[in-house]
């Protein structure tokens, strides 16, 4: 058994006193690729925000690499975990290169030049295929390009543990596959990846484990074959599904049945 990266014990959390995530327990081990699926508002983003220390825990505990998350400083967390959250509101017109350099922020000290910065930025930019974007402004990128840049920034910060909140939600197929393939390659080289996804087929195709969340609790948890079934998904999303097998990859694949909402 690999060592646990996250372990949550009867965890509850939410925003401004309202409980969203209610009494949730799980263990995520090193090297897992975990997808979180579930309806809108079920608590996928809340779970990611909670285990990344971005919102307070109301009850229960979360351990990250053996230490209680509450005992760790933001900076200590950021050194060992990187998070890709959707950026809302006005996006400032920073150049891509500068945006990527923010990934070095937890390691920077005042008045000391960062010698790693240049080399690590060019290495990761090449890995993510965004070298041609480096001098552009993040404001003028397409959604797909910006998502690649955000993943690259996260990788510059840390490659061991990655949390991503809906990394491919509004991307076209090419960018979707590009982002997920980068995550998959990282996972094969040992990274632990946790990502909230809306597309069950993408979750099935890439992850080693799927946690389905509904109404702030864990609805089902297991490998894609266990979680994805017609019965399981119709209970989770409250609509009908047809399940089959992807003839190319052999993974389970699902199709919502149109006109089945009532």
């Amino acid at each position: 058994m690999m060592k646990p990266v996250f372990s949550a014990e009867s965890l509850s959390s939410g925003y401004h006193g309202n409980i969203i995530l209610n009494n949730v327990s799980f263990v995520i081990r090193k090297g897992e690729f975990v997808s979180l699926i579930g309806p809108n508002g079920a608590g996928k983003s809340t779970l990611i925000k909670t285990i990344s220390g971005s919102i307070p825990v109301y009850a229960g505990r979360v351990f990250f690499l053996g230490s209680d998350l509450r005992d760790l400083k933001r900076k200590e967390i950021a050194e060992k975990m990187s998070v890709v959250n959707p950026i809302t509101g006005d996006i400032p017109d920073f150049p891509v290169r500068m945006f990527l350099s923010f990934g070095r922020f937890p390691f920077r000290k005042l008045f000391t030049p960062d010698e790693m910065e240049e080399s690590i930025i060019s290495e990761i930019a090449a890995l993510c295929g965004i070298v041609s974007l480096l001098e552009r402004s993040i404001k003028e990128l397409s959604a797909g390009e910006f998502q690649l840049v955000q993943v690259a920034r996260a990788l510059i910060q840390n490659r061991d543990v990655l949390l991503l909140d809906e990394p491919v939600s509004n991307l076209d197929y090419r960018h979707m596959i590009q982002v997920m393939d980068i995550l998959s390659a990282l996972n094969r080289s040992g990274s632990t990846i946790i990502c909230a996804l809306h597309d069950v087929n993408i979750a099935a195709g890439y992850s080693s484990r799927i946690i389905a969340i509904k109404n702030g609790g864990i609805y089902s948890d297991g490998n894609p074959g266990e979680v994805i079934s017609e019965k399981g998904l119709s209970g989770l999303y409250e609509s009908r599904f047809f399940c089959g097998k992807n003839p190319v990859t052999g993974q389970p694949s699902v199709y919502p049945v149109t006109g089945s909402s009532v």
């Binding site: 050194e79 990187s82 950026i87 509101g89 400032p92 923010f102 922020f105 937890p106």
Partner: protein, 324 residues
């Protein structure tokens, strides 16, 4: 490369505005006469006017303008709101309540400074709790700032209505945005503080850049809440210092960072120094206009910036009408 030219041009603009400021006033002194007097080193009336009256006043205007613009630039980035500036958020209002109280109770200069810091920090604490604690953004944030400003100005009026008329007059003159009382020791102390705090904020420029990408981004980048609070308190103190030195001077902190953003972009590393230079130039020119537009009367400089900024603001709203 492009940034270098922006810095050179704005530096030149500041030098030109300072020279213009030295020329303008009750008596127009041409630059040629000015240089002649300086070279000769004569103790004439003209050198007296230039060095004892106009120069300190121009320096006060420059530091006030720089302080207002830098704190405006920081507030806009931190609150991710294009309308955040010391005036609209009520931070200047808090400082002016503190100063009015100190003037009316004749508390002496040191306590006056601390009272103004206290007032401005009160305002920023309320805004911080609303926007970060309760998650209010955008419109609610600005409404809270406007509400705060009203509370502070009502409190000032309450103080005035019960205080002795001589001290009320003193406080009123200063609140109108008055740079004419400059020239004493405290001016240079306050100016030095402005320089130090603006520099500290500049040192924090990558923190401010990261904050400008939103709360969840800055949290997961390892930026602590205490660093955020330090930045907000520094920016509030900077606004308070501008109020101590120049009274309430509206719109500079809103307008100048916006204009700088148009040419420089949003990177606080260059936005902060360019806003300082731009704000200094703008207020020096506004002050020169206030001294010479309706001669022999002197218009408070706040009136000039209020007109310029108000018109700018209307254009800004029209340009961004799809956003609001």
């Amino acid at each position: 490369m492009k940034k270098k030219y922006i810095f050179i041009i704005s530096g030149l603009l500041l030098i030109i505005s300072i020279i213009a400021g030295l020329c303008c006033g009750a008596e127009f002194i041409s630059p040629v006469v000015m240089i002649e007097n300086i070279i000769k080193g004569s103790e004439s009336l003209k050198t007296e006017i230039l060095f004892k009256i106009r120069f300190p006043r121009i320096m006060a205007a420059a530091f006030v303008g720089a302080a207002l613009s830098v704190s405006g630039a920081v507030f806009q980035s931190v609150f991710r709101n294009p309308l955040a500036d010391p005036f609209i958020t009520g931070v200047s209002g808090g400082a002016s309540l503190g100063i009015s109280a100190a003037v009316i109770f004749s508390l002496g200069p040191v306590l006056t400074i601390f009272f103004s810091f206290g007032g401005s920090i009160c305002a920023i604490v309320v805004l911080y709790l609303l926007s970060y604690g309760k998650g209010f953004g955008g419109g609610v944030f600005i409404l809270a700032g406007v509400a705060l400003s009203f509370v502070f100005s009502s409190s000032v009026m309450l103080l005035f209505s019960v205080a002795e008329s001589r001290s009320v007059h003193k406080a009123l003159i200063w609140m109108m945005g008055d740079l004419s009382s400059s020239g004493d020791v405290s001016q240079w102390v306050v100016s030095a503080l402005i320089f130090v705090i603006a520099s500290l904020l500049w040192i924090y420029h990558s923190h401010i850049n990261i904050i400008s990408l939103g709360k969840s981004f800055s949290n997961s980048s390892g930026l602590s809440d205490s660093e955020l609070r330090i930045i907000l308190i520094l920016a509030s103190i900077l606004s308070a210092l501008s109020v101590i030195l120049g009274g309430i001077i509206p719109f500079v902190g809103l307008m100048i960072p916006h204009l700088v953003r148009l040419v420089n972009g949003h990177d606080n590393g260059s936005l902060i120094p360019l806003s300082a230079i731009g704000g200094a130039s703008f207020l020096v020119i506004s002050d020169a206009l206030s001294r010479s537009l309706i001669f022999p009367y002197e218009i408070p400089v706040g009136v000039i910036t209020g007109f310029a900024g108000g018109i700018f603001f209307i254009f800004f709203v029209i340009r961004n009408r799809q956003v609001y």
